[in-house]
Symmetry: none
Subunit: 418 residues, 2 copies
């Protein structure tokens, strides 16, 4: 079944509101095995809403509306659809009773326009709104299904997940649902990953293989439609094995978790304690790790030594290492090594990770923007220092540096060769 | 001029990505006085992209594309539009040189498909991509304007705000432009702010007053259309004065800068040095401040003392203060005070800020999720400790805690009464 989502609301066209509903509904429809071909946003204008519906009817069997069910004169979705279908609107008595009760219980006078929220298009099934007053509608006319949901996400989401999904299942009558698995990658760019898998991505239609990138990480989603999780798993396993054979050493997770989560899990499994010492990232590395609930068992803390004086005062790095003619400087392999080792000693941890480099916008110590050194000290082992040349603006370089350090640490913990 | 935004990407139709670009572009177009009538989302399918373009040409004079400019076979926006317009694609040499340079500088083999990112539709103006490789296009054919922007927000935003807006201004040729001023607020919630200004917001049509909230901060945007900046400034000044008379003590900036930027500026003006000591925020406070370019002049660094042992080892806080029967515990006013004072002493700074509390998901030391203590130590002054009860999930509590600490520090630096 092909679907189209029509979000109604001038605030979306003005950019005052981000259309999170379209993403939420799309994801839910995908899980039900329903393909979304278009998403449309239209303002609170009856003519243009009609125009959008007429178009959608030519290219979809299911049209999902969100927004425009409220009490005001701007809320026109039900009116526009009812007029187009030539069907009258009538009051849904239970919804009306709920609205009246609410106003009575608060001792408020009910503005007449609130009755509009109890409207139903003739022949439709009411969908309960547990978080608000506007009742949802589901109806089928001439083989096309119409689902009307409210606009505010806190009302839309429970209605969609509850009564709307039940209604969709009843009309879809399809047994096959979409099952997906996400593989997360580190240490490889989106284009290199795609190149390594291009023949699979292009030739394989079931399961499908879709690479995507977000926030310094790369992922692949493999999806198949099946009647059961077991049937899906069998097919997904085969595809995963093919991918694994080519780029397996870059896979850090078989679910949609961030790299820092994978690192924390490995630390936990080995009962290792980690500490960090950051310069250019200014606390971001620690922040990413501590954003994982329960990470205090593995991450003890660290220092943000943003200036040379702090590298000296907090970590005891000699000033002669950092400044003056012939000194390696703060942005150097040897300083990264010292930072990692000193913070490990200072905190009594098993691992010390350091980051020092140039986030920009200007160069520093005559070293270029994007040059970053990562130190990984491990108790009883030789300290490793990696160098990276990162691109992007200040913020992007900081994020990429923190992720690159996490990746290097992950390699050590996972026993994966560099 | 009527505009339509076409976002291209199957990940949007699958709900894997939220279409924040449509909102961002819509807002920018509104500021230029360009009305958006429709937003459309279409997948990575050349036929359907063409269909969307053909429709948009019947109802808009400006079509803004976002997405589908990347290197892969799924990136089809330029191909689809070029085919529809019957115009060839050609390489933009400076963009191609940039791509080659980047790969060479990293010692990487350039995958052939990367050349696609330098493609231009014949007759279009190149729009520079400062954060990525895909060049933007702006062109006008048969009275319809086409603007092609990349999909990743961190590439799209600078291109849209810079070269694309310049191109739009050149084609719009309108005399009256929208001028806006942003007032940033701290220490007051969005609903309280709106309540204090509700009569102005509702009754005043020029300038308009629009409150909005983002990432733990509240802002008001006042806007007016005028032929010159001077004419606009006169009207904006009057409105700003009205707002200032009611809620002026919460205004920390008269431009759209984050609170940490305002704090860094005040520190700089007074030549103060700041250090931080964080528990529940795990480095986020330091990260926010160091994200401001040049903040190393004011922020020397700090410690992330995520465990009690680190509070003891790095800051010298007695374990008896933190643990055991009758101890105040890590989450306490007295620990916040010690953390702030110790980090100030340890680093030799003028200010020490501390954060300790419960980010969740579970309570800690029998103290509830959302309870946070902030210490502000100042050389030669009494240390101040504030308590807050914050709501939200783990991540939101951490952001709100960091912003609340920044607000308390801002109050001290700005000499604003609590």
């Amino acid at each position: 079944m092909r679907a189209e989502i029509i979000a109604v609301g001038t605030e979306l066209l003005l950019g005052q509101t981000v259309n999170t509903n379209a993403a939420y509904i799309s994801q839910g429809l995908a899980e039900l095995g329903i393909d979304v071909y278009f998403q449309t946003v239209v303002g609170d204008n009856e003519g243009r809403i009609r125009q959008a519906i007429e178009l959608a009817r030519t290219r979809a069997e299911l049209i999902v509306f969100t927004g425009g069910l409220g009490p005001t004169q701007d809320d026109l979705t039900k009116d526009a659809l009812a007029a187009l279908l030539g069907r009258p609107l009538s009051l849904h008595e239970p919804s009306m009773a709920k609205i009246e009760q609410l106003f009575a219980s608060r001792g408020l006078h009910m503005v007449e326009s609130n009755r509009r929220q109890a409207n139903m298009i003739e022949g439709s099934e009411p969908l309960e709104n547990t978080a608000g007053l506007a009742v949802g509608n589901g109806l089928t006319v001439d083989g096309i299904h119409y689902l009307l949901l409210p606009g505010p996400p806190r009302e839309m989401r429970p209605m969609f997940d509850g009564p709307a999904k039940a209604w969709l299942r009843s009309i879809a009558g399809e047994d096959r649902r979409l099952f997906s698995r996400t593989l997360k990658f580190a240490g490889i760019g989106e284009s290199s990953l795609e190149e390594a898998l291009i023949d699979l991505i292009e030739q394989q239609t079931d399961p499908t293989i879709a690479p995507y990138a977000k926030e310094g990480e790369v992922a692949i989603r493999i999806s198949t439609k099946a009647v059961s999780e077991l049937e899906a798993a069998e097919r997904l396993d085969v595809t995963e094995a093919q991918i694994n054979a080519r780029v397996g050493k870059h896979i850090f997770a078989r679910e949609d978790i961030p790299l820092e989560d994978a690192v924390v899990r490995l630390l936990r499994g080995a009962r290792f304690k980690l500490a960090s010492s950051e310069s250019l990232t200014g606390g971001l590395f620690a922040e990413l790790i501590t954003n994982i609930p329960g990470s205090s068992g593995e991450f003890v803390g660290g220092v943000v030594t943003y200036t040379n004086m702090m590298k000296h005062k907090l970590l005891g790095i000699p000033l002669a290492q950092l400044e003056g003619p012939g000194a390696p400087g703060a942005i150097s392999e040897s300083t990264a090594k010292l930072m990692a080792e000193r913070v490990m000693e200072l905190t009594g941890s098993d691992f010390g990770v350091s980051l020092t480099g140039v986030a920009g916008p200007a160069e520093s110590e005559g070293k270029p923007v994007g040059l970053v050194y990562f130190g990984i000290a491990q108790r009883g082992k030789q300290t490793i220092v990696h160098t990276a040349h990162l691109s992007g603006n200040r913020n992007i370089i900081r994020v990429r540096a923190a992720k690159a350090a996490l990746y290097r640490l992950w390699q050590v913990l996972a026993g994966v060769e560099a």
